[in-house]
Amino acid sequence: MNSKTEFPKIPKEKFAFVSDKDIFLDEAPKTLARGYFGDALIRFKENRSSVVAFWILVFLVAFAFFAPVISPYSLKDQDKIYTSFPAFVPFFAERGMTFLGGARVYDSQNDASMLYWEGIAEETDMDPVIDVIKTYETPAKRRGEDIVRYTYDIRVNAYYALGNVYKVLSYNEFDKIQAWQNETGIQVIYPYVHPRDIRDIRNNPNLWYKVNEKGVAEVDEDGDFIPVYATQKEDEGAPYDSLRIEGDDGSYIYSVKKSGAVQCRVNYYNYYRYQNGHEPFYLFGTSLLGMDMFCAIGMGARFSLIFAAVVALINMTIGIFYGSVQGYYGGAVDMALDRICDILSGVPFIIVATLFQQHLAQKVGVVPSFIFAFVLTGWIGVAALTRKQFYRFKGYEFVLAARTLGASDKRLMFKHILPNAAGTLITSCALVIPAVISSETALSYLGIVDLSSFAGTTLGTLLSQGNASATTAPHTILWPSIFLGLLMISFNLFGNGLRDAFNPATRGTEN
């Protein structure tokens, strides 16, 4: 409209108040208010991979906290014989399944060793051979005749294959096992076999039949084993009045004297049941020390998670405070504090960790000194981030307004500026935790810190034990690796999702 338009004089009475009673206010918005965190949450949910990562993370953390509770074992249950044994669940093993059946592959087994497995199966009623994977035929010559030698690759149930072991028991223990046998009807103690009857082989308690000098069974015409159980009553270590094996007419002896105790052949599987009150149940197998891997991974991971959370919390606190002061005051203060950061961040972490271990571990304990090591340089990143955010926000009008209204420095820093940096800081916390876990694992793998006395075990310790037996028992390294890998991936994905969600620059750029 042309502003120069001249209006003729309008008489006063033509003007009227629209209303002289009601007060008109702006209408309250009918839409839902969407706060900073609410907005971030909505955008986080749109990021599918991060949401998946979040749920995996929840699962892994739940595993770490509940696995040690669910497991029938604790870390103190370290079986001396079932070490680095494959996964075993009785239900699957009884049905001869390879999955969770304690299966281990034995290659190039000849007929003699097949006979040995058969001997164990016949005596203990637990057939160690699960299945034959492959049969090789090799033509050979024996005494001028052409014969075919067979060799087999077989899968063997490692728990059953152990068969019998020699055990020295006190008289009291011997009686207790007999009582347990009577009660449950499970044969633990098997008749004794004198080494002199099996050609002086002393290290193989699974021979109960006539053997040749190589330790291979000599069978009768029907192909049956010829038992050579000891019957000399004068050798008997202690009276035996319990289950007797099939074919025993009461003459077999079940133990021999051994310096104030008795030595006998016990079936380790059943002995284990006697000792623990249940069958072996190792979902992830056992570790090098005979711990249940399921429980050990849970315990190790639980320690790592709590440790990382504590470190992250301390780092955040120090870093936020330090960075706030740096960023808010700027100038000479900033300069001076920044030099301290420069020096501390220049020290390689491994050196810090080592020096702290050497100096402090004996005085305050391994874990606190390890926390110190992580804190010494860990807060620098957070401080730098906070400082940057402070530089960004301290010039804004709302800060000026608050200052004009007389807000103190403290109030300006922590009430007005810091909340704006919250998103960035939360994200950095989510990314600090995996970094701490990974260096903690690395250092305990390298053996620079030994946390196992405190934590029982850690993922790094499990990995380094698993590395030693990786070829014979791959599961000992597989499960900790998978756990650690998944944990790291999901933590990082989750952290990246958070970062994108909190970053206002990416708002609305999706799709």
């Binding site: 050196i351 690395a442 698993g466 070829t471 650690l484 890998g485 991936i489």
Partner: protein, 317 residues
């Protein structure tokens, strides 16, 4: 620019000396290893300790230490692991293994990493990009020793392509030696490849959407021309300093990978010095790793300024 570089280097030296002083005092405060009474070197080591200034104030000790290092490049004698030997000569022996393994890994992985990054950026939001990005993310997240185990298990044990650990000896270029290095080189490469892929992809996608790319297309360049002449050059402003940093990093190597594949390098030496403990050796390792870390940062920083005229380093506002 040159002035800024000189400033940075001088400052780096100051930081280095402060760090060394701190570590030095902390190391000297540790209890000394007990000397074996019968060993012929015991007397020598005891006299060396006198000469190094034990029993004197720490600052005097540090002065002596610096004097020895600067005038004679004498870092002291090993008093535990290599009893009575000069630590610098031991260190020198261990350096080639680390450098060679890392050099192989970098030579292979930097081009691969950059190539994958370029492909991912050009094919953004296609399955190619998703595959590369996901793999990159996985490799960066998972700690290097986890895939080192995987490599060792699959290639060395199951397929039996390579020996488990590195060949002994110093014949670095014999075929057997090179073959035995492959698993370690692979394990080291994954991380480097992933790092370069991520940087290149991120930088290139940003450059590709910038206005001057549009202008280049408008004035008639084809997409490959525009990408090659404009986008890549700008993207390399970020990538090239990373390459420099990586090349300095090859000296440091990786403690874990060296332990897993039994590479007789400085990493294993440091680990042994820590577990020994062998203080003089440890001091040398500290100096070495600190120097590498600091100088890598300086090199990366300064090279930005030299590469990109738009970045004025240390310029007054």
């Amino acid at each position: 620019m040159v002035k800024y570089a000189i400033q940075r280097i001088i400052y780096m030296f100051l930081v280095f000396i402060v760090i060394m002083l701190m570590c030095f005092v902390l190391v000297r405060m540790l209890p000394l290893p007990v000397l074996p009474p019968e060993d012929p070197h015991t007397q020598v080591v005891r006299m060396r300790r006198e000469a190094m200034g034990y029993n004197e104030p720490y600052l005097v000790q540090f002065g002596l230490f610096v004097k020895n290092v600067v005038t004679k490049f004498d870092w002291g004698l090993s008093d535990k692991l290599y009893f009575g030997q000069d630590v610098w000569s031991i260190f020198k022996q261990k350096l080639p293994a680390t450098v060679i393994v890392n050099l192989y890994s970098i030579i292979f992985s930097i081009p691969i990493g950059i190539f994958l990054g370029i492909v991912a950026a050009l094919k953004k939001n296609t399955w190619v990009d998703y595959t590369i990005s996901t793999l990159t993310m996985v490799v960066i997240s998972v700690p290097s020793f986890v895939y080192a185990f995987l490599i060792q298990y699959v290639f060395c044990y199951k397929l039996q392509l390579f020996p488990f650990v590195m060949e002994a000896g110093e014949n670095w270029f014999s075929p057997a030696m090179i073959r035995s290095m492959v698993p370690a080189v692979l394990a080291l490469s994954f991380g480097v490849i992933a790092g370069f892929t991520r940087t290149t992809r991120a930088e290139l996608t940003e450059v590709l959407t910038s206005d001057y790319m549009l202008l280049a297309r408008v004035k008639g360049l084809t997409l490959p021309q525009a990408t090659l002449r404009h986008a890549l050059r700008n993207c390399f402003v970020v990538v090239v300093p990373q390459i420099f940093g990586e090349f300095l990093g090859i000296l440091a190597g990786s403690l874990i990978i060296e332990k897993i594949f039994a590479i007789p390098g400085v990493g294993s030496l440091t680990l042994n010095a820590i577990n020994g403990p062998d203080y003089n050796l440890f001091m040398l390792s500290t100096a070495f790793y600190t120097a590498i870390g600091l100088s890598a940062a300086v090199v990366v920083d300064i090279s930005y300024g030299f590469l990109d005229p738009r970045i004025r380093m240390g310029a007054v506002k």
